[in-house]
């Protein structure tokens, strides 16, 4: 696309069942900051069905313009339908920057669009800044979180980036903000719609979102198996906490992926994070080191987890956790 003529910071607004996802609002906050530096506008690209009444919300969170694509073909996310719609918007409006959430939707749509547009896409960014010469500097973890890399796309437009949910801050909502709403009807080539959505199933068990927990009791290889995790469950019950896990226990099939903390799992910031039998691979630390207070329990006193822990206990989780649960149960009943 034409680099010199390109302008404005576009945000892909992700909705599910008509509900605007938090990451989209976080991106509007960041986009506002970037657009101010560039002296340009924030434009929300909003595909969905029966969503027009929600455009004002996007303006309240920082959009100067909303391109509303309200059509039945866009009711549920499907790759080709969304790729056609968003591609046409990008082609028509020539944005300098396109931001998307690094969700299962953004990480499916982003690369499809980058190939269609023949431009670069930087995945899972944790920091976005504008360089002195007006390019986007995109910083992301690499090598399982062992390394941070700053990536630029100076010769192609748009500069595209996906951003992990929970990393950027939402702007505070301002209902008095004014903006323009543009209705855009994509021209669909329905012969390319090959994938059909049969059913969407919400996992009953996974309604708990570990990123919302105030206290997390997290287990790793040292916890070992289901029986070990039951001990953590008991402690979590007493503390009204949630149980989470390192990658090894998810790979071993002991825990579900949505309970995984780390670079390829979730980023968490609870008030207290118990790291039980977790050695602390850097890819795990990447997901929890921002926790308010970290208590690590591990047999190996050289385990890297102790480098980030506020309190390190060298000991056996299989002994300490049940004892702690028992003592806490007594403490609580004495209150």
């Amino acid at each position: 696309m034409d680099k010199l003529a390109s302008k404005n910071v576009f945000v892909f607004i992700e909705q599910r069942n008509g509900e605007i996802q938090s990451v989209a609002l976080e991106l509007l906050g960041k986009a506002h900051e970037l657009a101010q530096k560039l002296n340009q506008k924030v434009v929300a690209m909003f595909p969905g069905y029966q969503i027009s009444d929600k455009c004002q919300t996007l303006i309240a969170y920082g959009a100067d313009e909303v391109i509303c694509m309200d059509c039945p073909q866009l009711k549920d996310y499907l790759t080709e339908q969304y790729a056609q719609a968003v591609y046409q918007v990008i082609n028509k409006f020539n944005p300098a920057i396109v931001l998307m959430g690094a969700s299962t939707i953004g990480r499916d749509l982003g690369p499809r669009l980058s190939a269609r547009l023949a431009t670069g896409l930087t995945a899972d960014c944790t920091s976005l800044e504008i360089s002195e010469d007006g390019h986007l500097m995109m910083t992301r973890p690499a090598f399982g979180g062992n390394l941070m890399a700053t990536i630029m796309c100076t010769e192609h437009r748009p500069q595209m980036s996906t951003v992990r949910p929970g990393v950027m801050q939402k702007a505070s909502k301002d209902d008095s903000r004014k903006g323009e709403i543009i209705n855009f009807t994509p021209q669909f080539d329905e012969s390319k719609f090959k994938v059909k959505l049969l059913e969407t199933i919400k996992n009953e068990k996974t309604k708990i979102d570990i990123t919302e927990a105030k206290i997390l009791v997290s287990g790793g290889r040292g916890v070992g198996n289901e029986e070990g995790f039951r001990k953590l469950e008991h402690l979590a019950q007493v503390l009204h906490a949630q149980v989470s896990s390192s990658r090894s226990m998810v790979d071993a099939g002991v825990m579900e992926h949505d309970k995984q903390v780390g670079q390829t799992g979730k980023t968490v910031r609870p008030d207290v994070y118990f790291a039980c039998g977790i050695s602390g691979a850097i890819q795990h630390l990447a997901g929890m080191e921002e926790s308010e207070f970290i208590i690590a329990i591990n047999k190996d006193k050289f385990a890297p987890i102790f480098q980030v822990a506020d309190m390190g206990i060298v000991g056996d989780v299989h002994k300490i956790i049940p004892l702690l649960t028992e003592r806490l149960t007594k403490e609580m009943s004495n209150k």
């Binding site: 969700s103 990480r107 690369p111 896409l121 930087t122 049969l198 996974t206 090894s248 992926h257 056996d316």
Partner: protein
């Protein structure tokens, strides 16, 4: 049915450590493995071979030593292996990587293409969907289960943040698969012995028609401007005490922080 699985040799990132003084990655002695998501994808392909007599080809792009993951795939049971190796491919970002793989795939017969969701050294999850776009194929990413009707339709389970979706698609199409989707088979003993006698086809950028300006570093729209390690915060208080005392210390801290 013909299946092509794209695999990648990666450093085992769980084994990478940081030099605390220099703040750089210690990569020596880090084992190279077949990327876990790719292995999940390969397992699905081999199950389709077991049940429907599918023909399975693996392809990888990398340095000559990436031959090792192709031998591993042979030992797991694939029929054909192709190594794309050429200096022209080096330094590629995801788009340039997908350009090379898609151009090569145009010279291979396939009904479906399978890739891993993402590789553990980059975690981008981009190359699969980008290949699908170049080849004009429908894609389903984050696949955790595949059901084949024996003719051409697949019912596919796709993982989402809060559950899953069931999707239906006909071949030709591309899937990106999660490592947790299945338990990949081990190499068989006979397979390991045979793997060394089998021929890995080595393809350069001259083996198939491709626009070389779209390959490698020159064909990459993104560039790494700098890389750095994150500074770690100061370690906290360590206690090497018996379990009773440890529990006492934890409880006192939780009280101090008004957690209990």
């Amino acid at each position: 049915m013909k299946i092509v699985v794209c695999i990648k040799q990666v450093p085992d990132t769980t084994e990478i450590k940081i030099d605390p003084v220099a703040g750089t990655l210690i990569r020596t002695g880090v084992p190279s493995i077949m990327n876990p998501d790719d292995k999940g994808g390969l397992e699905f392909a081999l199950q389709l071979k077991d049940n429907y007599n599918a023909q399975v080809t693996v392809i990888t792009m990398g340095p000559p030593q990436a031959d090792a993951v192709l031998r591993e795939a042979f030992a797991m049971g694939v029929d054909r292996a192709i190594l794309l190796t050429d200096r022209v491919f080096a330094g590629a970002d995801t788009l340039a990587t997908s350009n090379a793989l898609a151009a090569a795939l145009k010279n291979i017969d396939y009904d479906i293409i399978i890739t891993g969701r993402q590789a553990i050294d980059g975690d981008t999850a981009q190359v699969g969907p980008q290949i699908a776009e170049h080849l004009g194929l429908p894609q389903i990413s984050y696949v955790t289960d595949l059901k084949f009707d024996g003719e051409k339709n697949f019912t596919v389970k796709k993982e989402t943040e809060d559950g899953y979706q069931l999707l239906s698609v006909d071949a030709p199409c591309l899937f990106t698969v999660l490592a947790s989707a299945n338990k990949a088979r081990y190499m068989s003993v006979a397979g390991i012995i045979d793997a060394f006698d089998k021929e890995v086809e080595v393809w350069s950028a001259d083996t198939f028609p491709v626009d070389k300006s779209k390959l490698g570093l020159n064909g990459s729209p993104t560039r790494v401007k700098k890389s750095f390690t994150k500074g770690t915060k100061a370690a906290g208080q360590m206690y090497e005490v018996d379990s009773e005392q440890a529990v006492e210390i934890i409880i006192n801290k939780l009280k101090e922080k008004f957690i209990i």
